[in-house]
């Protein structure tokens, strides 16, 4: 397997993520794919803590932490400086959570990709504000419990489709990736690295703590998200050319939902409704990819 060739590690052992943290797994594979000529910009997110407190760092690359809503802008500045210094070799990567991407950082991200800034923006998505204690974000899926959507107030709104929002900016490359599909993830990271302009990768990163799942279920849940079409693997070039990377065999979403404490309150009727929503989104994606039957 291709991954065996990537024996170099850019993460030290001893990061401070929770056991089973999908975001830590995502980082490890991304850095393997991108290599040491990488400068990372990190707006406030779980990884602000996972990277470890001063004077330690879990990463072997230069890293600049930044204010919550600045992922797109700080990276633009780093890139501009490298360009002025004649450094064409280094890849600038913003590494942000869903809050910093879908919500508070959306303006700076939209601004940066409208300018087609030459950088990779990675959003590792754990579907809520996990670092602050599981509060809902616009990435939290329909049906989920969070500490700010408790009890009967579970989230009854759809998750924002961030990839389509980025695709609407007609950026050179946008893709989804998943920690349970590392070969696909590494391929996309390397493909993104070779492209110029704004590149966006949306990575599914399970969160055992926030989703109320055992830590050893992290990868299984992530895999099921793809298999159920809840989180399809696909890529879009120049905002136009869609490629679906994985075609699952009709798994039912209820199997994915039943395993997670955050969805425990949902009735069969709720799950039927969610199944319809997932089917509808999948149909829409097939149409965009020109694969609708």
């Amino acid at each position: 397997m291709e991954l065996n060739a990537l024996d170099q590690e850019f993460m030290y052992s001893g990061h401070v993520g929770c056991p089973g943290c999908g975001a830590a797994i995502a980082m490890r594979f991304f850095l393997k794919a991108l290599g040491d000529k990488t400068i990372m910009v990190m707006p406030a997110c779980c990884w602000s803590v996972i990277a470890g407190p001063y004077p330690q760092s879990a990463l072997k690359i230069p890293l600049i932490h930044s204010a919550f809503e600045t992922g797109g802008a700080v990276a633009s500045g780093v890139r501009a400086a490298l360009d002025m210094k004649g450094d064409k070799e280094t890849t600038v990567v913003t590494w942000a959570g869903d809050g910093g991407t879908f919500d508070i950082g959306f303006q700076a991200l939209s601004g940066a990709v409208e300018r087609n800034e030459n950088f990779i923006y990675v959003c590792y998505d754990n579907e809520a504000y996990m670092n602050t204690g599981i509060q809902r974000s616009s990435s939290t899926p329909y049906g989920a419990w969070t500490t700010t959507t408790p009890g009967a107030d579970w989230k009854k709104l759809r998750k924002k489709n961030i990839v389509e929002a980025l695709v609407a900016h007609r950026i050179p490359y946008a893709a989804t990736a998943n920690i349970a599909f590392p070969e696909d993830l590494v391929r996309k990271a390397q493909k993104a690295k070779a492209i110029k302009g704004s590149r966006f990768i949306h990575v599914y990163a399970s969160c055992p703590t926030g989703w109320r799942i055992p830590s050893e279920m992290s990868i299984k849940i992530a895999r099921m998200a793809v298999q159920t079409n809840i989180f399809p693997l696909y890529e879009v070039e120049d905002g136009l050319r869609y490629t679906i990377n994985y075609k699952p065999k009709e798994y039912l979403v209820r199997e994915y939902f039943k395993l997670q404490g955050r969805f425990r309150h949902l009735t069969d009727k709720d799950l039927d409704q969610i199944q319809e929503m997932v089917n509808e989104d999948w149909e829409l994606l097939l149409r965009k990819a020109g694969e609708h039957t």
Binding site: A51, L63, A73, A75, G77, M84, Q107, A108, R115
Partner: protein, 392 residues
């Protein structure tokens, strides 16, 4: 070479001479002329810099934080709402010890919408760890901007060069533009003390526990103290090359003055006229112009004011509920000086209203004729406003 330039253009000339490498800005009146001229310089190659046309002031400063951390010289300009939007990142810039230089064109804050001059926008940022330098004319703007880079880069703190909206930003005056070779001698290329570097990977701005945070903050405060010393040395060196010096404060006929008018910005120029008129009539009056605000030049303020009987502080700003901000600073600087002069606070020229020679004279006579200040700050030049009864 002397040219007739507006204040905004003087800023842009200094930025060109400083060979800034990354500029990032968002338009707001009355800052716009600065960024328009710089956009032109970048597009015609007169300045070899990358200009980021970002989508907000918040992103303007965020982008510079990224660029400056990567080891290049940077610049931005803003006003009022734009500066307020940057507030979070003003703290970030000084906390990250980045020597970013910004031109801040003083403009009133809304509501109601008001594009005219008022210092409350910049003075409200006094606790953000930025050095602030208030300018009186176009020449001072150009000279101060060049000095700002030296100062910022020596102490690793950001500097705000502050100029009044329209009265300075849009007013044409003869300005001497220094020779590029002389500027290069005064301001060599930026040599970062730290930077993002793949050959030497470091983490910047990370999580810091109580075990280290306090020392980091103490270092910032010490750097501010150092800035006070360095500013004097840098001015000295600048004066040797360019024959111009302004001082952290400028004391004008203060030695024998009973009453000293304390000013900042363009009001100072009007005050110079009033001073002459009053002196001609035998009044023992002086002016203390304050240029450096943060770090507070407290020693110099005390030195200039110590033998006066009264100080009349003219504040084109207001900290609601506490009065004029310069007046507060002066009181704080004087309070432990035995037999210090009485401090009279006056608020004038808010939201771009003219501060006329007549108003300044009125302030002088009011100060002279009152035995003690009637309150912390007296609002001057207010119109009679008929307050109607509230409709039910």
């Amino acid at each position: 070479m002397k040219r007739v330039l507006e204040g905004s253009h003087a800023v842009a000339e200094a930025v060109r001479l400083a060979k800034v490498q990354v500029i990032s800005a968002y338009p707001i009146t009355p800052q716009t002329h600065i960024v328009e001229i710089l956009s032109d310089y970048c597009s015609t190659g007169k300045l070899n810099a990358k200009f980021l046309r970002v989508e907000s002031e918040h992103s303007a400063l965020a982008a510079l934080i990224g660029a400056q951390s990567s080891g290049v010289r940077t610049f931005t300009a803003t006003s009022s709402q734009g500066l307020a939007l940057m507030h979070e990142l003003l703290h970030w810039t000084s906390g990250a010890r980045l020597p970013i230089v910004m031109a801040e064109v003083n403009r009133a804050l809304g509501p109601g919408w008001n594009i005219w001059t008022d210092q409350t926008d910049s003075l409200a940022q006094r606790d953000t760890g930025w050095i602030q330098l208030y300018c009186e004319d176009g020449q001072e703007v150009l000279d101060t901007t060049l000095q700002a880079y030296r100062l910022a880069e020596e102490v690793n703190l950001p500097v705000m060069v502050v100029l009044d909206a329209f009265f300075l930003s849009h007013t044409y005056e003869p300005v001497d533009i220094p020779d590029e070779k002389d500027v290069d001698r005064f301001l060599p290329p930026f040599a970062p003390k730290f930077q993002l570097d793949t050959a030497n990977p470091c983490s910047f701005g990370q999580l810091v526990t109580p075990a280290f945070y306090m020392e980091m903050r103490h270092d910032i405060d010490r750097a501010m103290d150092m800035a006070l010393v360095r500013f004097g040395e840098i001015e000295e060196e600048y004066a040797r090359i360019f024959k111009r010096r302004y001082g952290a404060v400028e004391a004008i006929q203060c030695i024998d003055a009973d009453i000293i008018l304390l000013t900042s910005g363009t009001v100072t120029s009007t005050c110079r006229l009033v001073l002459k008129a009053l002196r001609d009539r035998g009044e023992k009056v002086g002016i203390l112009k304050v240029k450096l605000f943060r770090p507070t030049p407290a020693e110099q303020i005390r030195g200039a004011l110590k033998s006066a009987k009264k100080v009349a502080v003219i504040d084109r700003n207001c900290s609601f509920g506490a009065g004029g901000i310069f007046a507060q600073e002066v009181r704080a600087a004087l309070c432990n000086l035995p037999g210090h002069p009485l401090v009279y606070g006056y608020i004038a020229g808010i939201g771009g209203r003219d501060v006329t020679p007549e108003l300044l004279e009125e302030i002088y006579w009011k100060t002279k004729n009152s035995e003690v200040p009637e309150k912390e700050s007296v609002w001057m030049g207010l119109q009679e406003v008929a307050h109607g009864t509230q409709r039910s």
